[in-house]
Subunit: 343 residues, 2 copies
């Protein structure tokens, strides 16, 4: 039995190419005691994946050369030599770009969630939900958006909230959550098509097209009293424009900086001093910090979903051979929603 | 009647010179109805004064050219045409580099503290206190140090706290307050003399001499588990070294960036991305934000002072003609304590 596997050949400089991440055919090993075999169903394409393969490291050390290209995936157990897992069970984990995963599922009597090979069991989806919601609405994207705008950004009803990459997986959720909380929401996205969706589909009060409009001018026009919360997904010049338009005591929820992930020396905002001048709060955060509070957040998000006030737009592609092409869409702003590849 | 007055002639580039801030002899105008005449007793020399005369502005717009050089001063009413003020009353305000101030003291029935010409009445000093404590321990320096380490930095007993400019007016207070709160405290200062005082006089556990030691190496040695709270007074390369040595979830209380005040384009920390990677919180702040809570803080500080656990080292100079020379000491790290000029 052979399978397709993408491996990290060298650390990319710039947008990854097929010289950096290479498709191999490899044999699938036989199962050993306490191992399970997972058939990959969906692979999530996320900007953070690019951070994980930076030679310089990021919030984790870089994956070693030769590793399977890391990504969050959802799969189904197709063979099991571990009593905790039955064939047909759906699972999730950071398993990467491959068709089948052979994973040691930990000792038999182990209760700790992190000592089970990183395997997270997924319940069969409820009515109106989808398997993909496990890494969308109710997974890391949803939790990042929810806690980023509530706990980190401390948004209050009436606040002016600015969100970059507002048509993206996390940004589009931030727009909806902030609206549900009673905020005034301004999105930033690339091109008229995305901007139109940010307003009409996700409900923002306005959206700035950074490819065709002057962000500074538009921000002054749209937020003359200043921005209270900026949810930053992009970094770079858009971050600088946001800082220059923050209200006194404004909060910046620093979630990502996709404009900087492909560079070797990520840029810092030139107007860092404004953090002092305007008494801003800049908070870098990862959703994992809020693990204990997640069940409560999922409850709120499910309620909003059932009321038609929250949804995630999925752009689903197919075929393991297309992974790299789909992944690069993230960095040229070509995707029109959360990118997923069905295997 | 003539008096000495320093006026802002042009916005400085670099450390201010006598081409930028110029000493004049000017007549003292007669008092009009509701005005008072204040004789300057002490002038406080603070890094923030340099921010106030930046052409580019800062947290306030730049003082206009021709203004009296702004600074916090303490004085005594020597003539009054306002019933609220009697001769002999001590007052404080941002009145600047001059011997006498003629100030309109606001309408008679006005209760608002800010509509009285910026004049703050000072009680006669208690036993063991000094007039200068009004802009030292119990004034803007003390409040900045106190709220910066408590509310902004959220320091807890057992935390490792790092303070730059640790021999300076605010830094030396931060060291003592953090020690009083049960933290482990590492100072950074310039030269062995200052470093020795930071440890022996102010009680820090260690002090790094940035002029002669490798900050990165020393920080790794002194804080192998990382820094929980960094109280930043200096910005620049020291800030970068601090960021690279922060613990996960660390807080940076961004109080100032004296290394950048004389440049036209203040530098940003090159490792801004670490704010995300380490999930740091960077908070720019000014003490005024905590105005309502100040009386409580003063109470705590007075208690510490009476127990011998808090003091401010004053470096007092004399003579209005020496103001500019004394002021520039701040930027070449020559002062050995809070700089004050007695008039």
């Amino acid at each position: 039995m052979q399978q397709s596997v993408w491996r990290l050949q060298k650390y990319p400089t710039g947008i990854p190419t097929d010289k950096d991440i290479v498709l191999h055919q490899e044999p699938i090993p036989d199962l050993k005691e306490h191992e399970i075999k997972i058939k990959t169903l969906y692979i999530s394409m996320d900007p953070a994946n690019r951070l994980w393969i930076r030679r310089e490291g990021s919030y984790i050390p870089p994956f070693p050369l030769g590793s399977i290209m890391p990504a969050i995936t959802i799969g189904e157990v197709v063979e099991s030599r571990h009593p905790r897992y039955q064939v047909g069970q759906k699972v999730q984990g950071i398993f990467g770009w491959q068709e089948y995963i052979i994973q040691h599922a930990g000792p038999l009597n182990e209760q700790l969630p992190l000592d089970n090979g990183g395997i997270v069991m997924i319940p069969e989806p409820e009515q109106g939900c989808d398997l993909i919601d496990n890494f969308g609405l109710f997974g890391v994207h949803g939790m990042t958006a929810y806690f980023g705008i509530t706990d980190v950004g401390k948004a209050q009803a009436g606040d002016t909230v600015l969100v970059s990459a507002a048509a993206g997986a996390i940004g589009s959720l931030v727009v909806q959550i902030a609206k549900n909380m009673g905020c005034r929401v301004i999105g930033i996205a690339g091109g008229p098509k995305k901007c139109s969706r940010v307003v009409k589909e996700f409900g923002a009060d306005a959206c700035i097209d950074y490819k065709h409009e002057d962000i500074h001018f538009r921000l002054q026009e749209l937020a003359p009293q200043g921005v209270n919360v900026y949810f930053d997904n992009v970094g770079g010049e858009i971050l600088e424009a946001a800082i220059d338009n923050m209200a006194r005591y404004g909060r910046i929820a620093f979630c990502g900086a996709i404009s900087q992930y492909n560079g070797t020396t990520p840029a810092s905002p030139k107007n860092y001093m404004q953090i002092l001048y305007r008494e801003l709060e800049v908070n870098g955060f990862l959703a994992f910090r809020y693990a204990e509070k997640m069940p409560e957040a999922v409850k709120v998000m499910k309620q909003w979903q059932s009321e038609g006030r929250l949804h995630m737009n999925i752009e689903c592609h197919e075929g393991i051979e297309n992974l790299l092409n789909v992944f690069t869409k993230l960095f040229i702003s070509e995707n029109q929603g959360k990118l997923v590849v069905k295997i």
